[in-house]
């Protein structure tokens, strides 16, 4: 197993990280990546960027615990989680998750699960920087519903 977790203010290049990720694989059949890009359209106005605040080491500990859950639940060969903090401009990548498994369903589900964790439970606070000011954004109801899917299926 090869796991990388990185939470920092350094820029994220999804293609470069996917390239690094592939170089760590020996026998995986399926590789899934997710990248989240800062969108230009906010609630009411054009978004220039985000500011992401973390709380170390709670943020890191939480991501590690979610990664542990994913590893227990799916047969993964490798896993990467990169998340940016600080100021991130529109069009830049804020998060990158990659999973590898010989079963493609496992790779898809684990990436999906980790993204749901990052969107709803990971210890980050997010501020939108728009043309008209700055506003803190808390998760949408949809994000919580997405995350609850995994709790339901725990009981299967």
């Amino acid at each position: 197993m090869s796991v990388l977790i990185n939470i920092s203010d350094q820029p994220i290049s999804a293609p470069e990280l996917l390239n690094d990720f592939e170089s760590r694989l020996s026998s995986s059949g399926g590789v899934v990546s997710f990248s989240g890009v800062v969108r230009p359209d906010g609630k009411d106005t054009r978004v220039l960027g985000l500011f992401l605040q973390s709380y170390s080491p709670m943020t890191e500990n939480g991501v590690e615990a979610a990664v542990e859950q994913a590893l227990n639940r799916w047969p993964l060969e490798a896993l990467s989680v990169y998340h940016r903090t600080g100021k991130i401009r529109t069009g830049e990548t804020i998060v990158f998750v990659a999973t590898a498994s010989r079963h493609r369903r496992a790779a898809f589900e684990a990436a999906d699960f980790l993204m749901d964790y990052l969107k709803t439970e990971a210890v980050f606070w997010k501020k939108e920087i728009t043309e008209t000011g700055e506003v803190w954004i808390e998760p949408r109801e949809q994000d919580y519903q997405d995350n609850q899917r995994w709790q339901k299926s725990e009981t299967n």
């Binding site: 998060v95 990052l118 606070w125 998760p139």
Partner: protein
């Protein structure tokens, strides 16, 4: 001294992300610090919101958790990244 941290929109109200205070003698549990912050920052109930959680030394606690000087105490509004 205890370090008090205000995350997310709370720092807009407190106008500082963190401060060190000597815990007043009437603050013995997490719920007391909520009332204290509420009064101190005239926060219109924000510090009493159940979705604003309190962490002590990096662990989420409930309102009955005891507080002491030397603790790092964080007020955490709802979280979420990506």
């Amino acid at each position: 001294m205890a370090d008090i941290l205000y995350f997310g929109r709370l720092s807009d109200i407190t106008r500082k992300p963190t401060e060190s205070i000597d815990l007043p003698s009437d603050i013995s549990h997490a719920r007391d610090l909520r009332s204290w912050a509420e009064a101190r920052f005239q926060a219109a109930g924000v510090f009493l919101e159940p979705t604003v959680r309190i962490a002590v030394n990096g662990e989420i606690v409930d309102d009955a958790h005891p507080l002491a000087n030397a603790n790092e105490i964080a007020f955490m509004p709802p979280v979420g990244g990506g």
